[in-house]
C-alpha cells in the first residue's frame, strides 16, 4: 500500500505546480487552469485521507470542491470576457491602471 505521505507530497507538488503557473503565466485562462490544479491538489488530499481516516467526509467534500471550482470558473470566464472587451487582451499584467 502506498504510504499516505506520498499522497501529501503529490498534492503539494500539484499545488505548487499550479502556483508556478500562476506566477509565470500572463494569460488569464492559464491562470484559471492553474487555480484548478491547486484546487485539485486539495481534492487529492481529501480523497486520500478519507481512506486513511476511514470516513467519507473527505470524499464527499471533494465533490463540493469540484462543484465550486466549476462555479468559480464560470464567474472567472465572465470576468475575463469583460476584461477582453475592455482591454482587448486577456493578459492579466496589462490591467494595471490602478496602483500604489
Amino acid at each position: 500500500m502506498v504510504p499516505v505521505e506520498y499522497y501529501l507530497l503529490l498534492s503539494s507538488g500539484l499545488f505548487c505546480i499550479g502556483l508556478f503557473g500562476i506566477l509565470t503565466r500572463r494569460n488569464a485562462l492559464y491562470f484559471l487552469m492553474s487555480v484548478e490544479l491547486m484546487l485539485n491538489a486539495a481534492n487529492i488530499n481529501l480523497v486520500a485521507f478519507s481512506f486513511y481516516w476511514g470516513n467519507l467526509t473527505g470524499q464527499t467534500f471533494a465533490l463540493f470542491a469540484i462543484a465550486l471550482a466549476a462555479a468559480e470558473v464560470a464567474v472567472g470566464i465572465g470576468i475575463i470576457l469583460a476584461l477582453y472587451r475592455n482591454f482587448g487582451d486577456v493578459d492579466v499584467m496589462q490591467a494595471a491602471t490602478m496602483r500604489w
Binding site: F20, L23, F51, Y52, N55, T57, T60, A82, D91
Partner: protein, 124 residues
Amino acid sequence: MTDDRPGSSSRAPGIAAVALFGVLAAVILGSAGGFGDPVGFPAGESIVHTIGYALFDIGLGEIPVEGFLAAFLIIAIALDVALDSAVYLAKREDEGTIVSALTDGGRDIVDGPVSGDDSEGGDR
C-alpha cells in the same frame, strides 16, 4: 486571447512556488512518521451510497461520514449565484440591446431571467 508573448513572461517568480514546495515537502517528510496505518473502508459497503446518504444527512451506511445537507443546500444557491454572476458579466450591452454571450442553439437569450428560472431548481 493571446498566449504569452515571447520573452515577455518571466519564469523567475516561479522560484517562489518551488520554494513553497520545498517547505511543504520538508514539513510533510518531517511528520511522515506520524501516520499510522490507514483505517480504510469496510469491504462490501457502497461508498457511493454512503456519499448519497451523507448529502441528505441520512445516517444509513457503515462508513462514518459527517452530514452535508447544509452544504448541499448552500451550494445549490451558490451555483445559482455563480450563474447569475457569470451571465451578467458575459452579457454584452450594446446600444441598449442586450446580447448574451451564452447562446443556445444560435438563439440569443434575450434576458437574464434564464438564471432566475434556473434558480428555482437549484437543488436539482
